[in-house]
Symmetry: C2
Subunit: 356 residues, 2 copies
Amino acid sequence: MPSPGPGPLSLVPFVSVADMMALVNGIGAERFLVELAAYIEADFRRWHMFEKTPRLATHSKEGVIELMPTSDGVEFGFKFVNGHPLNTRDGRQTVTAFGMLANVRDGYPVLLSEMTILTALRTAATSALAAKYLAPKGSRTMAVIGNGAQCEFQVLAIRALCGIDTVRLYDIDARATEKAAHNLAGSGISVVACASSQEAVEQADIITTCTADKRNATILTDNMIGSGVHINAIGGDCPGKTELHRDILLRSDIFVEYEPQTRGEGEIQQLDPGHAVTELWQVIAGQAAGRRDAGQITIFDSVGFAIEDFSALRCVRDQLARIGQPSKLDLLADPDDPRDLFGMLRRAAQTAGAAE
Amino acid sequence: MPSPGPGPLSLVPFVSVADMMALVNGIGAERFLVELAAYIEADFRRWHMFEKTPRLATHSKEGVIELMPTSDGVEFGFKFVNGHPLNTRDGRQTVTAFGMLANVRDGYPVLLSEMTILTALRTAATSALAAKYLAPKGSRTMAVIGNGAQCEFQVLAIRALCGIDTVRLYDIDARATEKAAHNLAGSGISVVACASSQEAVEQADIITTCTADKRNATILTDNMIGSGVHINAIGGDCPGKTELHRDILLRSDIFVEYEPQTRGEGEIQQLDPGHAVTELWQVIAGQAAGRRDAGQITIFDSVGFAIEDFSALRCVRDQLARIGQPSKLDLLADPDDPRDLFGMLRRAAQTAGAAE
C-alpha cells in the first residue's frame, strides 16, 4: 500500500527567522548586504525581462497589507508584507513579511522564507545601491532621520557601498537614537546623536529618512537641505504618507523604482503626475544620467518594489548551502498518482484507523 | 541577556498536508464539505463587505501562477495557486496551493495552511452550493466529465447538498475513470463508467465538467445538452481555456462568481462582454432569481474566487482545535524591542558564538 507520508515533491525548503539570522550572521551583515546589493543590481540591469505591476495593497485605518509579485519568466516570486506604524505600541513590528519563490515551468514553490529581516536588508541594500550611483563623490557623512528598525541596516549598507565614516542620528524618541548608537558602537563608524533633524543633516552628504508615522508628513523642510546632497526617502511609501516638503522635490532630480507604483505611494504623490522622474534601473543600465554635478540634489524616492524582493529571495536561495540543509515544510500534496488526490486522503484515513 | 529564540509573536500556526488530511478525515470528507459550504454560503451572503479584485495571474506557456487576495475588513486572506495541466506527466499535481489568513488590525499572519487539498474541497463545496440553488428539484443523477483530482470531491459534495444517488463518469483516459470508480465504491452512490461524454450526460440532471487540458476546448457540444439540466463548468478557468460550446451558453442562464474576473477566465469569454450573467451571491442573498422552471438550462461558470478560499481558511482555522495544537512556524521576527531588529540579529550572532 502506498505510504501516506509526505512525498519528496511535497516538501518546500523553509528559511525561518532563526535560519535567516544564522545565514546573515554566518556571512556577516555587511558582507551579506554587499552580496544582496549585487543581486539587486544584476536584476535591475535586466529590468525588461520582468513582469511588473504595482503591488496589490489592502488599506485599513491601522495600516496596509500588500502582496508584491514579479517574475523573470523562469521563476515567480512574491512577498506578503504589512505596514502598521502603531504596532510597536503592542510590542509588534511595524513591518513583517514572508515570501516565496516558485518555478514558472511547473508552478511548484521552491523556497518559503521569512522576510521581516530580509526586507530590512533589501531596503538598505537598495538605498545603498541608489547612493552608489547618485551620491556626491567622496561622501563621508550620512544622516539618518528615524532611528527605528531600518536605521542600522541603512548605515551598514551605505558604509559598505559608499564608504561613509560618520553617521548623524535623530529620532523624535531619544531612546531610538540611543538604541541605534549602541548597536553601531564598535562598527568603526563615528556616531553623532543629534537633537533635531536640522542638526542631523548639517554637513551630511547622504540623508536617509526612514520614519514610520503617517502623521508627521514633513520630516525635512526646504531650508534644511543645501546643495550637493543625496536623499534616500524611505518612509514615505503609501498614499498619504510622505516625509519631504514639496519644495525640496521641486529643486531635486528624482529617481524611483517603478514609476506606476511610486506615483501613488512615494514622495512624488505631492507632485503633478507629469513631473519627470527617472527609474533607477535606467541609471544602473547606463540608459539615463545619474548625478551630473556636485551641486545637484538627488532624491531616491524609495517605496520598495517586488523585483528587490525577488533578488533577495534568489540571494537567500543561492546561499542556502551555507546553512546546511534547511528545514522543509509538508506544504504540497504529493499523491502517488497526481490525479488521485481523493485516494491519498482516503488512504491517510485508513492508515490512521489501522494505527488506533 | 534577552533570549534570541523565537518569541511568542513570531510563531504562526501551520496546517501541513498531513494535518489537513487528519482534519478532514477526522470530521469525515462529506461532513467537512457540508460545513465548508456553509462558510462559503455565509460569506456569499455578506458579499458587499469584501474587498474584491480579479486574481493576479502570471501566465506562461506551461501554465499559470495566481495570487488571490481578499479581505472582509477584519481579516485578510490570500492564496497562492498554480495551474499546470502538463504537470501530471512528471508526477506533479496540476493545481497546488497554499494560503494565509492575517489580522487587518496589525497585519500579523494568524494561519498558514496547505491549500492543495483545501482547494479541491472548496471548489467542490462551491459547485454543490451552486447546484443546491440552481439544479432541478429532485435531481438524482449527475455526470462528471473529467475524472481527475477534482472528480470524487464533486460527487461527494453534490450528493451531500443535493442528494444525488447515481454518478456517470467519463474521461478520455479510462484509467482516470477506473480510479474514480474505485474511490467511490462503498460510498453508496451508484457509479456508471461511460464510453463517451455523450453517454455520460444522458439522463443526468447535474453535469460537472472538470477537465484540465487547454487543447480540448469543447467538452460538451450543443446537441448533447437537453433541457432541464444544471451544468457546473469547472475546468474552463483561464484565458483560452473553455469546455462548453458557445451555443450551449446562448440557450442557458449563466451564473458566475465575480463577473470582472470571470469575463476574462470563464466560459463567457466566448460571449459578447455585454451578455447578461448573474453573480451567484445574488441568488443566495435572495436578490436575483435562480432556477425559474424545470426546462431551463443553468450554468455555473466557475473559475474559483478569492472569497471561497477566505471562507475555507476561516473554516480550517475554526476547526483547528479538533486536530489539537497545530505546529507553529518561526516565520515572523519578534525582537524584545520592536524597533531593535538589528540588535536581535546581533545578539543571535553573540549567542551562536558563545555556544561554539
